[in-house]
Symmetry: C2
Subunit: 691 residues, 2 copies
């Protein structure tokens, strides 16, 4: 058994101390199979450290001698179970593939599962509870994930890309998998990563960038060994690997000279290649495809639809139980900025809704949560409500491409919670979380772009670990409260600090993090208009950076007003892609939520928001306030120095990053304010300095 | 003897046919030494091709038998000269190191020189004249360069720079010298390049980028062989090599741990290193230094002045006759855009004028022609008139960093001619050309950044060859007329085309090129305000691209007006760096030339220019006109297709580039117009479409 976290790497939310409650007790593990072995190994490791005991069953199924266990972790099938377990189980039907039942009864904590994966998740549930797991009696609770599909996409390149680097949109060092074109020799961090993911509920990882360059294309064939090696590290934690493939793989990998999805040779090629993948990786998850998007090849080349394209790959995967994640991020990235009729926000709906019902059952259409591209504020994508006959996955971005690039504190769970709780048909209809999960948990689920890399803190900014953790937890339980998730993360990550340290740290972290997404929103692009970032790297402000470009991302600010008219009445008609009530709410200026006003409407600077402020004064006020909040966060963090409530190295790392965040927030404040002051000529009502 | 232009490379202004007039005649070459050998070789090569004869002197100095020569090329010292030569010489004193006397007398064309270099330039003079050299009698003319220093700087890197590539700001393929970190094995193009440069009058080349990265630093020591090899190829054409060195060379090349210019060990290190350079390259020209600029190290690190820094290197070079080109391009590139008092335009004057008189005699202060950075329109740098006790070189940019990057036709000679003819003290004072040349031709001279690379046409855009040619010609004779230079270039380059082709081509080229600089100005940043280019690569429009950056390059456009107030009365005071009358002309809004208005003044959009138009209407008008002129140029060029007046491959290359120029010009037009319309709200008086 290896130590789960390599030397010099921060343990994130699984420090040894998180296992103290278990490790100092007597535990009985019952069941067989690799994942049960993982559970047993985890408990054993904890006991070695903290003096507890693992009870092993005797031959014949009886438990060994000794005092009764404090904790039972058992598969239902591993009977006969101890009496207390049978009592807990009484009356329970199926627990489900990944579910578990947990109870505290007669002084014993019992975790029961139908399948080994459930037992693993049950173990981590007990880890989260810590000492609370061993207190008063608790009646049986049945936990199971909202959806079976809880996946992280890695935008990792094998070769260092000349522009995008080792990890496209990566802000946490290099790839956990590859370095300079070669699979890492030491994959112990991959295993540790899998363990962290399992502990928050993730069960699938796509290992490479959706922009599949030449070297990466060969992961499907010649370099399949790389994928198999990664899969071997993640398998003990119940995580299946998926692979991003190039739609033109047949052509670039020596197959037929076409990638036409209706060509018989192409279909045979995919079938043969896929068979070889499964021969090597029997639990392989499937393919991820970005097709006809931002320069990537796709079925349009052959006059075929995206359903044709996705189905060809799906047919190859179907015999093995694999799925295709087909990304709906398709739009014209060579748009003429002079053309105000074309609206990038419309693109996914325009392209995919007509295809509803045409996709195979093992195709998952992967839809970004908003219609644009992971901006700090977007409406929910209307596609989510428009394809009832398609399995949809909602894609989030844990990596902070547009939300501070892991130099800024920006706890994203509140945004994701809003997205998942959005009800496209109004209060009486289902929420996005339900649409993604599927009625029986078999929907497309949730996918997110990972923020992890080979940085010692995994995520560059130590506090960005909370985003990775929260994604997993929300994928498991979309209704979970972001502040509660943050508490879980704080308890696990920082519990071992100095006596009383947690009491000091917890309120500081809540003060810094709870509202940090809205703080980031305040000092960046206002009122849902989006972008205004430096082209290319997307860090820091450049109000007109994308304004006259082909990327379809505009704000149309002039001396009179700002915003994008996406109404049906006078604009691009995007509002019509929503069902009522939102088609009306967004259409009507007086009903449109303030925070999305400029996403849907072009208004004069003097327009009065529902909050009573004018647009221009709101811009000034939020930008002064946002930068001020960062300054406050900075001073809160500084006050922790030397208190022993947080590791000095971690404190120093965060300190340096908050300094940069403040510099950048002030830059945003001043550029946005100066830009709009120069355009509008309206002075700040409070007479503050606008440069 | 090798064929001067390698296969597959365009001969530029020295096609074989340019030597037809000489090559079909009888020529006597008199004199000794390597450069005379070059002259003899050139004539011999021409005669081999065109059936003429080279007469060689007999032992004892008499000329061989046969009919009298049509052309005599002779050193004065190679006497006794033919009688006709003695006649021509009668009454002439010193011809000068690089000068020559040319006459047509008694049916013989005579070129006489004191030194071999003069004879070489005289040969190329005859090449330019072609058949005209052998017509009616012409009295003796004395030609000599205005300045001894006529230099091209190459911004070539040895290693491919991750951002800047093989040639920083290079738009003509790779380096002629290096490829991927290694000196090219075949340097025949370097020799051919030297021949082209000699033919237009250039006599010095700095071989590497002024931003000296790690590998390039070692050219001074470990990789001196690279420099020697290049020098060997250029030497036969009278061209000396110079080397860009890193000010911190002692530190980075294993010398003393400091680069303090007053440190005795540092001075010894430079002396020793320089001695080794001259041991290897006896005619080495000297060092080029960019210090304390844009991140390059410099004397400020040690609390020393730029005079201290330059003099340390000058002292090392002095025993060998070498010079230091010390660049005056020093400014704060980490400026706060919020700070309106700091003015990058002031920087060179502020830094260097106090040092006037403190530089050694072999230091040449290399001053960019304008105070900013090679914009399409700038005033002449006030430094040129402010350092009477310093040798100044004026630096031009032949590579079209800000003038279309050799995708746009932009014949720069008219701009350079304006610069060189500018009289800082008004009509009665000397012009810039005279200040750079020095009273006796021993000033700092002219330097330009080369636009040549390994592109088959040398300069990417075939018509950009004219800029390289014109630079050399203006360096030799700053008063030359740009249109006349263009004719020379046309005659040399295109003379061999189909019968009558030149008559068709010449007016087309004049129509496309003569005014192309002003055309480029029309569709780009207006009225001298500069920049508005995409940051980083500097191609194409981005009005606010540099507006909120640390680079000190702003336009300050708001809803009311635009421009930079550089007056003494209310602005940065930059106008005070000029002597009268310009200090007053630029200061006073009503006297300031229109084309520089926004460089010196911030004015309302409704301000009426001296040309009668408002600023905003002028912006619209020039931008529509500029793009329209490119469209006309394009159709003129297209009409040449199939006429035989130009090589089809060259025609196709130019055609593709003009298409791109038109696309880009329309993009400039629309972005600039849209930007200012959105800001000003003033509609176009002629109702044209502004997107």
């Amino acid at each position: 058994m290896t130590v789960p976290v390599p030397d010099g790497v921060h343990p994130a939310w699984l420090p040894p101390e998180a296992f103290r409650a278990i490790g100092s007790r007597r535990t009985l593990v019952r069941g067989d199979g690799p994942l049960v072995d993982t559970v047993r190994d985890e408990v054993t490791l904890a006991c070695v450290r903290y003096g507890g005991r693992v009870r092993h069953p005797l031959p014949g199924g009886r438990d060994g001698p000794g005092p009764p266990p404090d904790l039972v972790l058992a598969l239902r099938s591993a009977g006969p179970l101890p009496a207390v377990a049978e009592t807990v189980l009484a009356g329970f039907g199926a627990i489900g593939d990944e579910g578990f039942v947990v109870a505290r009864h007669d002084g014993v904590t019992v975790v029961l599962a139908d399948e080994p994966a459930g037992l693993l998740y049950g173990l981590f549930h007990v880890v989260r509870l810590g000492e609370r797991a061993f207190g008063a009696a608790v009646p049986a609770e049945h936990h199971r994930p909202a959806t079976r599909r809880r996946m992280l996409d890695h935008w990792d390149n094998v070769d260092v890309h000349p522009v995008m680097g080792q990890v496209e949109r990566g802000y946490a060092g290099g790839s956990l998998f590859w370095r300079d074109g070669v699979l890492r020799e030491d994959l112990s961090r991959v295993r540790a990563y899998g363990r962290l993911l399992a502990a928050c509920g993730v069960n699938a990882v796509a290992v490479n960038n959706v922009n599949v360059h030449a070297t990466e294309a060969s992961l499907l064939t010649d370099r399949l060994g790389d994928v198999a090696a990664i899969a071997a590290e993640l398998r003990p934690y119940g995580i299946r690997v998926h692979l991003s493939v190039r739609f033109s793989s047949p052509v670039v990998l020596g197959g037929p000279p076409t990638a036409d999805p209706l060509d018989e040779d192409v279909r045979k090629w995919w079938a043969a290649v896929t068979e070889r993948v499964y021969a090597r990786i029997p639990d392989f998850g499937g393919y991820v495809v970005k097709a006809d998007s931002e320069g990537q090849p796709g079925p349009f080349t052959y006059g075929r639809s995206h359903a044709d394209g996705a189905n060809a790959l799906a047919d190859a995967l179907e015999p093995f139980g694999g799925v295709v994640h087909w990304r709906a991020f398709v739009y014209d990235h060579r748009q003429d900025w002079r053309d105000r009729a074309t609206d990038r926000a419309r693109a996914a709906h325009d392209h995919f809704v007509p295809l509803d019902g045409l996709f195979r059952g093992n195709v998952i259409l992967q839809v970004k949560h908003g219609p644009m591209d992971f901006q700090v504020r977007e409406p929910v994508s209307p596609v989510v409500a428009a394809m009832p006959a398609t399995r949809l996955a909602v894609e989030l971005q844990v990596t902070q491409e547009y939300t501070g690039q892991q130099r800024h504190v920006c706890y994203l769970a509140p945004m994701w919670s809003d997205v998942l709780g959005f009800r496209p048909w109004g209060p009486a209809g289902p929420a996005v979380a339900r649409l993604a999960a599927g009625a029986a948990g078999d929907g497309g689920g949730l996918v997110a772009v990972s923020n992890a890399g080979d940085d010692p803190y995994w995520t560059g900014h130590p506090l960005a670990q909370a985003n990775l953790y929260a994604f997993g937890r929300l994928a498991w339980a979309p209704g979970a409260d972001p502040a509660t998730i943050l508490d879980e993360w704080i308890d696990l990550t920082f519990a071992p600090s100095a006596p009383g340290g947690l009491e000091r740290l917890r309120p500081t972290l809540h003060a810094i993090m709870d509202d940090s997404w809205r703080t980031y929103e305040r000092y960046t692009a206002p009122l849902g208009v989006g972008f205004m970032v430096r082209p290319g790297h997307h860090y820091g402000p450049d109000v007109d950076g994308y304004e006259y470009t082909p990327w379809g991302t505009y704000h149309f600010a002039d001396r009179d007003g700002v915003g994008v008219d996406r109404t049906r009445a006078t604009g691009t008609g995007f509002t019509g892609q929503y069902p009522p009530p939102w088609s009306e709410v967004y259409e009507r200026l007086e009903r449109c939520p303030d925070e999305l006003l400029l996403f849907f409407h072009h208004v004069p600077y003097g327009h009065v928001l529902r909050n009573g402020s004018t647009v221009i004064q709101h811009i000034y006020d939020t930008h002064f306030a946002g930068a001020e909040q960062v300054a406050e966060a900075r001073s809160l963090w500084e006050r922790l120095a030397g208190t022993g409530s947080v590791d000095p190295a971690l404190h120093a790392r965060v300190k340096a990053l908050i300094d940069e965040q403040l510099r950048c927030a002030e830059e945003w404040r001043d550029q946005i304010n100066a830009y709009f002051f120069r355009k509008s000529g309206v002075p700040d009502a409070h007479g503050r300095r606008i440069p």
